[in-house]
Amino acid sequence: MNKTVNQKAWFFVIPVFVLVAFNAIIPLMTVVNYAFQETFGNNVFMWEGTRWFKQIMLSERFHASLGRQFLFTFIILFIQIPLGIAIALTMPKEGIGVPVCLVLMSMPLLIPWNVVGAMWNIFALPDIGFLGHSLNALGFDYNFTQQIGDAWFTTILMDVWHWTSLVVLLSYAGLRSIQPAYYQAAEIDGASRWAIFTKIELPKMKKVLTIAILLRFMDSFMIYTEPFVLTGGGPGNATAFLSIDLVKMALGQFDLGPAAAMSLIYFFIVLLVCWVFYTLMMRNEEKS
């Protein structure tokens, strides 16, 4: 069969191309531009090659904030994924409880990020906040503005409060899509509750859990607003995660070149981790 050649079809692609150019390509290219050059303002640029990249890659400050970032992301994934699945398993499957639970679960997700930060800041204040005051009254020496451990504890608790619901909702959707016949078949086989979880529920939830882990990884790896409002990266640099450190460098110190290079490295880390994770998880799914 002869295919007719019609180059006019390209016109349909133009609107999308223009849109993507403005919201992604042009801003990204600006950053690339800064990453390879030095500027003193007045639109004067000098070529620096890969100098900023080398500087960032060798910088102890970058290593420290990257380390903090991975630690934070790892901890919250480690808490939120199992906790989310556990909550989803205990949620009702029918009746009035379903909409009630779903609405309650969605609440934290609807609150703007800076509000969450502000809320937890006030909530955790050691002198007047409910959490801070109660902990101190119970005999704990708690002060998230001055003690590193307390700052981490509060930041993690805040993130768990804010985002576990997302994992719960995704897991719940995954669980509900399992046909009742699977549970009956397992019952006939005499499988234990644990076997049902590991042999039926987990494999059946694999795809939604992959999505949940990816979303939570990306969001937590790029977290900015909440810790910025809660701790401002402190005490010292104890909770200065990558994005907080990046903004300090770009806007605080106005080191545009190194900050641009750091942005690109940051971007590639997120991309690489997501790609590796997704490829590994979906390796066996391709065939079906």
């Binding site: 046909q179 016949a181 078949a185 499988a191 042999k199």
Partner: protein, 354 residues
């Protein structure tokens, strides 16, 4: 070995899903539950298996009351309409799973799985995962899991419904062979009369949560005890017309077609059921009684042709061998076999089958 339901009833809230049912299934039989969707086939099977408890009534197995006994303690296996296998187990592990839990030795497991896999033509794919298999192979795996342990009761809930036509035909022909020489009771739910006829054994016709008739499959087909049972066991749907009998003369109420009958029944009004294949577009054998019809729809199914036509105020369906099509609106002659008419009284109970 026998399975007996005694006055079993199932209510959910105010809805009655199964009306009081008595049924006795004997060992080494295939029992077909035939009925349309929502007629209670699945509910009845789940009660038989012990997956669901009856609201009232008792279930007896081998002269032992097993009502409320957990399904794990009963030696039961079940195959579903959906292809239910453990998703991250290989075909081998899937088939072996019921044996592992009961602690059968690994040598014996290997041997039994091998035997069942061969029977179901799965030998070449024991190392694959279910999602690498076709729908037919997935359902074969589920069937193998049900057959590998020597269950006393095997329940199959529309196992072929989700397969495409060709795979369905293929597996359907193998099914009777699979249950041969097994010391068990097989219960098979289906919506399709042709499946019941192919499997033989016994058939129970169901309608709206009631068992209408239970008996040998051919008896149920040939001697429906009521119009409802005949309708459930007829595909395409049975033609039903009102008639009047006077002496040895019968006639339809809605037209002046007459025929002679040797039936020894009282004079009066009756309903006759006529299976579509007893109305043909050509004279053949005993198909001799002429009826004029105006074609509504003409369709071809396999190597047979269905003509939907009107006569009087009624819609009729005829099924003839051969592939042909008639123009909509054509008036044509069709021929009926009066020997095969099934007569029902005004209460829709069977009076005589031909």
């Amino acid at each position: 070995m026998s399975l007996e339901l005694k006055n079993v009833e199932k209510k959910i809230g105010l809805d009655t899903h199964i009306y009081s049912t008595n049924l006795k299934l004997e060992k080494n039989t295939i029992n077909i539950l035939l009925g349309p969707t929502l007629s209670g086939k699945t509910t009845l099977m789940q009660i038989m298996a012990g997956l669901d408890k009856p609201t009232s009534g008792e279930i007896w197995f081998n002269n032992e009351n097993v009502t409320g006994m957990k399904v794990q303690k009963r030696n039961v296996s079940m195959v579903y309409q959906q292809f239910i296998n453990y998703p991250n187990f290989t075909v081998y592990d899937n088939i072996a799973s019921p044996l592992k839990i009961t602690g059968v030795s690994s040598d014996e497991t290997k041997q039994r799985v091998g035997k069942v896999a061969e029977l179901l033509k799965l030998s070449g794919m024991l190392n694959k995962k279910p999602n690498e298999l076709s729908g037919g192979q997935q359902q074969r795996t589920a069937l193998a899991r049900a057959l590998v342990k020597d269950s006393d009761l095997i329940l199959l809930d529309e196992p072929l419904a989700n397969l495409d036509f060709k795979l369905r035909e293929e597996l359907r022909e193998e099914l009777p062979k699979l249950f041969e020489n097994r010391d068990c009771i097989v219960v098979y739910a289906t919506t399709e009369p042709s499946e019941a006829l192919l499997l033989g054994g016994n058939t129970a016709t169901l309608q709206e949560g009631k068992i209408i008739q239970y008996g040998k499959t051919l008896d149920t087909y040939n001697k429906p005890n009521s119009l409802v049972s005949a309708q459930v066991f007829s595909d395409p749907p049975m033609n039903i017309a009102k008639i009047k009998k006077l002496g040895d003369q019968c006639s339809f109420l809605q037209n002046d077609i007459q025929w002679k009958t040797k039936l020894n029944i009282k004079d009066g009004e009756y309903k006759v059921g006529i299976r579509p294949h007893n109305i043909t577009t050509y004279k053949e054998g005993n198909n001799t009684l002429e009826i004029k019809g105006k074609v509504l729809i003409s369709e071809i199914s396999g190597s047979e042709s269905l003509i939907h036509f009107t006569n009087g105020n009624l819609n009729w369906v005829s099924l003839s061998n051969g592939v042909f099509q008639k123009n909509v609106g054509d008036v044509m002659n069709l021929y009926m076999n009066t020997d095969e008419f099934i007569y029902f009284d005004q209460n829709e109970r069977l009076v005589s089958n031909g």
